[in-house]
């Protein structure tokens, strides 16, 4: 009986850990999707901007300044504090590569989440069956 209770306790703990892991992966997937959407917006912006054209630069909620694009170059971060100048086309290529990498990470995350969800369902079923068995054994005793 004691062994059974210990087994149940361990399975319940495993279920809790799996659930936490699933939540973490799901939150990572959400962050990846948000970043992807931000990058896609940047690509769209750069694709639609041309040198010497006038544009509006957002400086706050609903406030814009008129600005002119002086050349077809943008700064892109290569490290958190280092930026290099690249042509619009190069920047678009880099950004597309980032989207591809994020796509891969998203797929991997989704695969892991699916596997974990399956394991959670199986473990939950096992736990339910064992709890029922334990209850039946207790009822018989009484």
């Amino acid at each position: 009986m004691e062994n059974m209770a210990e087994d149940l306790r361990q399975k319940a703990m495993a279920l809790e850990i799996y659930n936490q892991q699933l939540q973490m992966i799901q939150s990572e997937i959400t962050s990846i999707r948000a970043l992807k959407s931000e990058i896609m917006n940047s690509i769209k912006t750069i694709e639609n901007i041309k040198a010497d054209e006038e544009t509006l630069i957002p400086v706050g909620p609903g406030v814009f300044l008129k600005a002119k694009i002086v050349d077809d170059k943008a700064l892109i971060g290569v490290k958190s504090d280092i930026y290099v100048e690249k042509s619009f086309n190069e920047v678009i290529e880099d950004l597309k590569k980032s989207v591809e990498d994020l796509d891969k990470a998203e797929k991997e995350g989704m695969k892991k989440a699916e596997e974990l969800a399956k394991a959670i369902t199986a473990l939950r079923k096992e736990l339910q069956t064992e709890i029922q068995k334990a209850q039946q054994a207790q009822d018989k005793k009484q």
Binding site: V78, I82, Y83
Partner: protein, 113 residues
């Protein structure tokens, strides 16, 4: 059943060692991430055709010579690689101390019972 004080003390030491190891592993992971970032940045600088790069200082971009930034990054890579090696050594030492202590405790438990 209460454990004998001697075993309790050893178990506490084991826990402390485990915490130390956890901290070392976390530090190593963060240094390795920074190292990877620096190496990637160096690769990107090599690819760039421009002689100048921009460095974010506070909220401002400052124009810097690419060669100077490259040198800085190379030095940083060296320092970080050294730091990883030191952390690896500390990790190894802690792992072996942990193993020794675990064996010691395992040997103590049957005699205590």
């Amino acid at each position: 059943m209460e454990l004998p004080p001697q075993i309790q003390a050893q178990l506490m030491q084991l826990q402390q060692l485990q915490q130390q190891l956890q901290m070392i592993l976390m530090q190593k992971q963060s240094v390795e991430t920074e190292l990877k970032e620096c190496k990637k940045a160096l690769e990107e600088l090599e690819k760039s055709s421009s002689d100048e790069v921009y460095k974010l200082v506070g909220g401002l971009f400052v124009k810097r010579k690419k060669e100077d930034v490259k040198k800085e990054l190379e030095e940083k890579v060296e320092t970080l690689e050294l730091r990883v090696k030191t952390l690896e050594k500390q990790e190894e030492k802690l792992q072996s101390r942990l193993k020794e202590l675990q064996e010691k405790i395992q040997k103590m438990i049957p005699t205590a019972q």
